[in-house]
């Protein structure tokens, strides 16, 4: 049995909220694709949980402060933490912003044992962030057990001692420590297994990591394949992957020279995208992918900055490019006062994969070769390369992809997010209609309009006598509408038929965002149908049934 690498993990709780600069005493939640990814302790006390929908979270806690997920800002804010830990080790691996790990073998001997080292690490991070940010440190065999030790540690009563922030699992006892932990942790952030695997395990009655580790390994592989093997090894306190016997050949390292030197992060990130793409393609050509990666940069004055990034799964091309961008933003945009900022433009970038593993899962299905069909993986990769170029031309906000949200208006039910915030080469459940449940009450019935005007175009709606049509409090119109006119009454069109109104009274509990609107469907004499909306007595065309 392979000995797992003794690892120390530093974990900052609720990092996305901390990075947004919001006090943890306020109820706040960070959302991605309409789901809560992190929330403050104050919000948790009100019943807000991860994976909740926005409206569920808001109904539990109406004063909830909603923040958008911004991984780049989180990485930027984390950079001073990583820089402070470099005093302990040169080999720091960042799993995701908010969590980093390093092997303890050398540093532990130097600092006098795991407990002393953990205390020092916690003290350094606390010194950087101040005492308000909850920091936990875990030491155990392997990064998976160490991360869980950090996450599950409840701090002792004497909070002022840095040692109390750490939980050290003695060597060889990681399997026993992991045994009572539910299997759902396997599907958590940065976790090795998908929700599908965890779901099946739970339904089979395998509810704890101990129960999973007790299963015969051959049976687990037979039923769940390599993903199951990976999970089984982690549950037993071993390293997730069999140790790599030979270091990857040096020629995997890709270097890009920047000439002229890149002064702005965007320029360097653009080059990094091509580099990431190249690396990913080369690895994919040999059927492998990268799980640990060194990203380095050098300035014209010879300053260098290197970080190791690690994931329990494998990095996609987009994920590699994101890591480079986060790291450069953290370094160049340095927030930490004493963290050394580069003094000149960036002249060199390099990517060196440290751990190469067989690429799993993304094999071509045999059935996709039918006539007229498009190979989905090739098409996705091709599209993401083109998108990278268009983003370079128009900026991150210029290219957007749809995601389903709750709402009543035709423009509210699907929102747009920058493509940089979504990995288009991976399945995106938020882009499927099943992401939201049943349509909201008060929604105008299907079919939906093909053109939605943002912002709505102001019009006037008048009755046969030329008076403006109003919608009364009880949800009925004051008179049958006879004509629609543009704001200046120029292009007046007769109303041929109409229906409604569909009133909707939204967020009546919050005086600041409360909206009362009513919608009306109208066809004009030329046969075109419009969706009109009235708010505070003003009509506008919200959508055209084009």
């Amino acid at each position: 049995m392979a000995e797992a690498t003794r690892t120390l993990v530093v974990w900052c709780a609720d990092w996305p909220v901390v990075a947004a600069g919001v006090s943890l005493d306020l109820p706040a939640a960070v959302l991605r694709a309409n789901r809560v990814v992190a929330c403050s302790p104050a919000a948790r006390r009100e019943g807000v949980e991860r994976h909740q929908r926005r409206r569920d979270a808001q109904s539990r806690c109406p004063e909830l402060l909603i923040l958008e997920h911004d991984p780049a800002a989180e990485a930027r804010a984390f950079e001073p933490v990583a820089a402070s830990l470099e005093a302990l080790t040169p080999r720091l691996e960042i799993t995701y912003p908010g969590s980093c790990a390093f092997p303890t073998r050398g540093p532990s001997r130097y600092h006098g044992g795991d407990r002393a080292l953990a205390g020092r690490a916690a003290g350094l991070v606390r010194g950087t962030l101040g005492g308000r940010v909850p920091v936990r440190v875990g030491v155990a065999d392997g990064p998976f057990a160490a991360a869980l030790a950090a996450r599950r540690h409840r701090r002792g009563r004497r909070a002022d001692r840095s040692e109390d922030l750490a939980l050290v699992v003695p060597p060889g006892e990681s399997a026993a420590f992991l045994a009572p932990i539910p299997v759902t942790v396997l599907a958590d952030e940065g976790g090795p297994a998908g929700a599908a695997l965890v779901d099946v395990l739970e339904r089979l009655g395998v509810r704890t990591l101990g129960a999973l580790a007790a299963l015969p390994v051959a049976e687990v592989v037979g039923r769940f394949g390599s993903e199951g093997l990976h999970a089984h090894r982690l549950a037993g306190g071993e390293d997730g992957r069999p140790p790599v016997t030979a270091p990857p050949p040096a020629d995997w390292t890709l270097v890009a020279e920047l000439d002229p030197p890149a002064e702005r992060v965007e320029a360097a990130a653009f080059v990094a995208r091509g580099l990431a793409d190249d690396l990913h393609r080369r690895l994919a050509a040999t059927g492998s992918a990268c799980a640990r990666l060194v990203v380095g940069a050098e300035t014209e004055h010879g300053e260098t900055h290197e970080r190791v990034w690690r994931t329990e799964g494998t990095f996609s091309a987009l994920a590699i490019a994101d890591r480079v961008r986060w790291q450069l933003e953290g370094w160049v945009g340095g927030q930490g006062g004493w963290a050394q900022r580069p003094s000149g433009g960036l002249t060199r970038l390099w990517l060196a994969p440290e751990e190469i593993v067989p690429a799993g899962g993304r094999q071509l299905a045999l059935s996709t070769g039918g006539p007229g069909m498009v190979d989905p993986i090739e098409a996705g990769d091709r599209a993401s390369r083109a998108l990278a170029r268009v983003q370079g031309l128009l900026g991150v906000d210029g290219v957007r992809v749809p995601e389903w949200r709750g709402g009543r208006g035709p423009g509210e039910r699907v929102g747009l997010v920058p493509v940089a915030a979504a990995d288009v080469t991976e399945p995106r459940p938020a882009a499927r209609p099943s992401w939201v449940g049943e349509p909201w009450p008060g929604t105008v019935p299907a079919p939906a309009p093909a053109t939605v005007h943002t912002p709505p175009l102001p019009v006037e709606l008048i009755d046969a006598a030329g008076r403006p049509v109003a919608v009364r409090g009880r949800g009925e119109v004051s008179a049958a509408p006879a004509a629609v006119a543009a704001g200046d009454r120029s292009g007046r069109r007769a109303v041929a038929a109409w229906a409604g109104p569909w009133p909707c009274d939204e967020r009546w509990w919050d005086p600041e965002t409360h909206r009362r609107r009513a919608r009306l469907q109208v066809t004009t004499a030329d046969g075109t149908a419009y969706l009109l909306v009235v708010e505070a007595g003003r009509w506008s065309v919200e959508a055209t049934y084009d």
Binding site: P371, V374, A383, R389, T451, W498, G500, G527
Partner: protein, 258 residues
């Protein structure tokens, strides 16, 4: 020969099966032609030569003056390729109704929007050029009404280069609202008539739109075709509409009864 057969018979992979290697599937011209076409929704197949969208082609989708429906028709046209796995980019269509796009059959997971490719013409040309390399279907707005970014900002020379690039990269370019500047598309689809059903004087709701789509073009699309469609029907989908009234020839009725 006999020895060869013996070897095949003893081969554990082949076992007792006849020792004749399987014939390679025949590839006919029709197959090659269909390889070059992306499927469209069943309701639209009768409108297009070969029943699909030929790769490398530019399609103009528009509506007769005073008639709406070009955006829905363009979305319906992109839906077939989208369901077959193609990626769709919409350029200059900032007001696209995405709920309608989903209902018409466009897979939102593979839809990307570039609402405003910039104020200058060079921006449009380079953005469209980059997208052609990566996307199988590109919808681009050419009319003022369809998108907030205004009409397509392309010089005729850029448009010509774009059309050539689409042909070379085997993509499909759909210009929504009429032809690209200076170009005449080889296939054009026009909504010539449209009527909404389901709305009364203060009652009901919009339930479906009956449209007549006519085609024109050059080459194998030169023969004009027309079809009646529900665009959309009560569920937001596209379905063929039965002709309003089917005249029954007098003599056929007489024959049946006699």
């Amino acid at each position: 020969m006999a020895r060869g057969a013996d070897v095949f018979a003893r081969d554990p992979l082949i076992g007792g099966r006849p020792a004749v290697p399987p014939a390679a599937p025949r590839v006919g011209l029709a197959d090659l032609a269909s390889e070059q076409r992306l499927p469209v929704l069943p309701g639209l197949a009768s409108l297009l030569p070969g029943g699909g969208l030929r790769r490398g082609v530019t399609v103009a989708v528009g509506a007769a003056p005073g008639v709406a429906g070009a955006t829905s028709l363009a979305l319906a046209l992109a839906a077939g390729p989208s369901q077959a796995g193609a990626w769709v980019a919409a350029v200059g269509l900032g007001s696209l109704g995405l709920v309608a796009a989903d209902a018409l059959g466009v897979v939102l997971e593979r839809l990307v929007l570039v609402a405003d490719p910039g104020r200058d013409r060079a921006g449009w040309a380079s953005v469209l050029g980059a997208l052609v390399d990566g996307f199988d279907v590109i919808l681009v707005s050419t009319s003022t009404s369809a998108g907030s970014a205004g009409p397509v900002r392309l010089r005729p020379a850029d448009a010509r280069r774009l059309v050539a690039r689409v042909r070379e990269r085997s993509g499909i370019l759909v210009s929504v609202g009429g032809d690209l500047p200076g170009e005449r598309s080889p296939v054009s689809l026009t909504v010539s008539a449209a009527r909404w059903e389901g709305l009364g004087a203060g009652w009901g709701h919009l339930q479906g739109r009956r449209v007549t789509v006519e085609t024109g073009g050059r080459g194998d699309a030169a023969r004009s075709r027309r079809a009646d469609l529900w665009l959309p029907d009560a569920n937001g989908h596209v379905t063929p509409a039965e002709p309003l009234a089917t005249p029954i020839p007098l003599d056929s009725r007489r024959r049946r009864h006699g």
